[in-house]
């Protein structure tokens, strides 16, 4: 009886979004007389940082500082419809809708500024909250003054509507071919584990991953998703299960002593590198990162367990009982084979 180590590898190709009869999200953008912009979304930030990346995307598209954008999320009564935060679709779908809405608002802003600056809207640029006439550096107007003029002098709105729709894709009845996703991100995880053959316990020592996520809007938050997802994936592999309640009508554990979650005492060493191959249809080349981060660690850990003890565990989570039972079967099969020789 000993502690034996193994290494496993697994990869995932992760399709962003999904397509159950079409996958749309809408956004509204409007400007206050202060020059501050508001983005109205029904979409919800679950903690991944949707509000922050949308603030970044809106500010970039409008040409105003980050602080000039307020992102208001999560109220389906007061904002236009979003399919939801799932399938790593948030940044891709909402970001695209917000770019469209921000571009319309930007055009309305430039039309007002064009009157004030006596120039064509096509000759205007906005950068860091200042509108300038291309080639005439001293002819400028702040977004604030343009917004004031729109409201009090011209009686015009500076606002925009945006929608991104991944249209419904029908399935070819002959071949089964369809086009359900918009873009595909990729990841590979290498797991090092240690299996205690006496207790059946599996310890994950290390999870090293490479992620290809398209363009990163906010690298620190991408890193946060990857670290959190690595631990969540490890927990799916070794701890978390809806059994024995499932498939009862109320398939849930009743408290946190029925449902094991990892704590600060269960952490492997986690490292990752991020590669950026921008997508053709994501906002500024985004693909998405959220959900896939909990995917590749699971098969990588299972493969590492196989590498360590030579058995395939085919049911999650890999509890000590399952490991001990598998080891027993392995040993029985081995001695039967020896006896037959």
């Amino acid at each position: 009886m000993a502690k034996v180590r193994g290494r496993g590898i697994a990869s995932v190709s992760y399709p962003t979004g999904m397509n159950l009869g079409g996958d749309p999200t809408q956004a509204l953008v409007f400007c206050q007389p202060t020059g501050g912009f508001s983005v109205k979304l029904a979409s919800t930030d679950l903690g991944q940082g949707l509000k922050t990346v949308i603030q970044q995307i809106a500010a970039e598209t409008l040409g105003v500082p980050l602080e000039s954008v307020v992102v208001d999320t999560g109220d389906t009564d007061s904002a236009p419809h979003c399919m939801g935060t799932f399938a790593s679709r948030g940044t891709h779908r909402v970001g695209n809708a917000v770019i469209m809405a921000a571009q319309e608002a930007r055009r309305a802003l430039l039309e007002v500024a064009a009157e004030e600056l006596e120039a064509s809207p096509d000759d205007l640029d906005i950068s860091d909250g200042v509108i300038s006439v291309r080639g005439v550096p001293d002819r400028t107007l702040s977004v604030f003054d343009a917004a004031l003029a729109a409201h009090f002098k011209y009686g015009r709105t500076i606002s925009g509507r945006g929608i991104y729709l991944k249209p419904k894709s029908t399935v070819d009845p002959e071949t089964g071919a369809c086009d359900p996703d918009s873009t595909v991100a990729h990841a590979t995880t290498v797991a090092d584990v240690e299996v205690d053959t006496e207790t059946g316990e599996v310890t994950v020592l290390r999870l090293a991953s490479a992620y290809e996520v398209g363009r990163q809007i906010n690298p620190a938050m991408v890193e946060g998703q990857i670290a959190g997802g690595a631990v969540m994936g490890m927990a799916h592999a070794l701890m978390e299960t809806v059994y024995p309640e499932y498939p009862a009508l109320r398939p849930h554990a009743h408290n946190l002593s029925d449902y094991l979650l990892p704590t600060t005492m269960d952490l492997p060493e986690i490292s990752s590198v991020v590669l950026e191959y921008p997508s053709s249809n994501g906002p500024y080349g985004v693909k998405g990162v959220g959900e896939m981060t909990a995917n590749s660690p699971i098969p990588a850990i299972i493969n590492a367990i196989h590498d360590a003890i030579g058995v395939w565990i085919t049911e999650l989570p890999v509890t000590p009982e399952k490991v001990l039972r598998a080891l027993k079967e392995r040993d029985a099969a081995q001695s039967a084979a020896t006896a037959a020789d």
Partner: protein, 160 residues
């Protein structure tokens, strides 16, 4: 319905609340004192998100009847946040991106504060042990440990 009146010190202020007898400290803080930093993750003692300090000791507010803090000193995240500023732990959590959804954060910070008050320079292992009763679904804990370690290092500890 009968009610009880409980007097205690809440974030340095003499406080008296009149509540129904079974009211927990968690409900009293959030619904009677309107201090909502303390979170109700599970309301059954399993997650640590409701951690507050009672006489400096980390305590699960969801399992503590308000009546038990009669005459005691209760400190919540609001109580350690300087006006217009951040506690060193809050600053470190911010700098390290140690919050995603933020539900665990107030409890994590209060548990970490209790540790640092008693041991100003804990090792990484001691930090992990002190926070092991606080669950986080989002971050994978590493940035949280890094943040507390940063503050421990400022205090002259935190070496691995």
């Amino acid at each position: 319905m009968s009610a009880i009146t409980v007097s205690f010190t809440l974030n340095g202020r003499a406080t008296t609340l009149t509540v129904s007898p079974a009211t927990t400290l968690l409900t009293a803080l959030r619904e009677h004192a309107q201090l909502t930093a303390t979170k109700a993750g599970c309301s059954q003692g399993g997650c640590g998100s409701c951690t507050v300090l009672v006489n400096g000791e980390p305590t699960l507010a969801c399992l503590t009847p308000l009546a038990h803090v009669e005459g005691q000193e209760v400190t919540t995240l609001e109580g350690i946040t300087p006006v217009g500023g951040l506690h060193p732990l809050q600053k470190a959590f911010y700098d390290r991106f140690a919050a995603q959804c933020g539900y665990c954060t107030p409890g994590m910070i209060m548990a970490a504060k209790a540790l640092l008050d008693r041991n100003p320079h804990p090792t990484r292992e001691e930090i992990a042990a002190a926070l092991s009763g606080n669950l986080c679904r989002c971050t994978g804990y590493l940035p949280i440990l890094d943040a507390v370690e940063d503050v421990a290092r400022q205090n002259g500890g935190g070496e691995r």
